[in-house]
């Protein structure tokens, strides 16, 4: 039944050690999103893919990268995690037609990242 799957659910990394979070979907949606959510804040969009078209938010640090090798999978790479990158990372998907009409966004359970 799971539609948007994120692994791992909890990730502990060391300061400066690269880490990769993964997201997969069974919905065959053309758009995939990565959000960062810090404690007591709203989710903040980092970037999204419209099919293979990568769209970075202007204020997303260069430390954050993403890959989408196929429709089903999307990865978030944090090249050198800092203490301020500790957060919940949420993946979402949606179906959008012609970049104009977006349907419901579906969220995965999130990966909680701890940086030591």
């Amino acid at each position: 039944d799971a539609m948007v799957i994120q692994n791992p659910r909890y990730q502990v990394t060391q300061f400066g050690k690269p880490v990769t979070l993964s997201c997969s979907q069974t919905l065959n949606h053309n758009v995939m999103y990565w959000y960062q959510q810090k404690s007591s804040q709203a989710p903040k969009l980092l970037f999204h893919y419209y099919d293979k078209d990568f769209n970075n938010e202007a204020d997303t640090p260069d430390n954050f990268q993403s890959r989408r090798p196929n429709t089903s999978f999307c990865f978030l790479d944090i090249r050198s995690p800092g203490l301020g990158d500790a957060a919940m990372y949420l993946c979402a998907t949606s179906r959008t037609r012609d970049k104009e009409y977006q349907e419901t966004q579906y969220f995965g359970p999130g990966t909680r990242l701890l940086v030591l």
Binding site: P43, E100, T104, F107
Partner: protein
């Protein structure tokens, strides 16, 4: 971009009470969604409601697009309703959701 504001920021109610959460948005929207974030952090879709009224059990939502607001109603609150409720909206030609700051609902037994 579109601005999304939610009120109240915090709400504490006794079990069994009814509640109304409000979401105001600054411009016309293509998509408006209500989410419940549970204590484990998962965002659960409640409603996709760019206009009109929908009901799902004890929850209902109404969006008046011409007046740029949406309301989420929770009746006969249960402790499992506790958590943060977000509304989020996007605009035509822009597939990015903008989230409000959320309403933290606490239901006391």
């Amino acid at each position: 971009g579109i601005q999304v504001e939610q009120s109240p920021p915090d709400l504490i109610l006794q079990e069994g009470a009814n509640s109304t959460l409000r979401c105001n948005f600054s411009d016309s929207v293509n998509n408006l969604q209500w989410f419940h974030q549970n204590p484990w952090g998962q965002l659960i879709n409640l409603f996709y409601i760019p206009s009109g009224t929908k009901q799902n059990g004890r929850l209902s939502a109404t969006t008046v697009a011409t007046e740029r607001y949406s309301l989420l109603y929770i009746s006969s609150s249960q402790t499992t309703d506790s958590g943060v409720y977000f509304c989020a909206a996007d605009q035509f030609g822009n597939e990015k959701l903008t989230f409000g700051t959320g309403t933290r609902l606490t239901i006391i037994p």
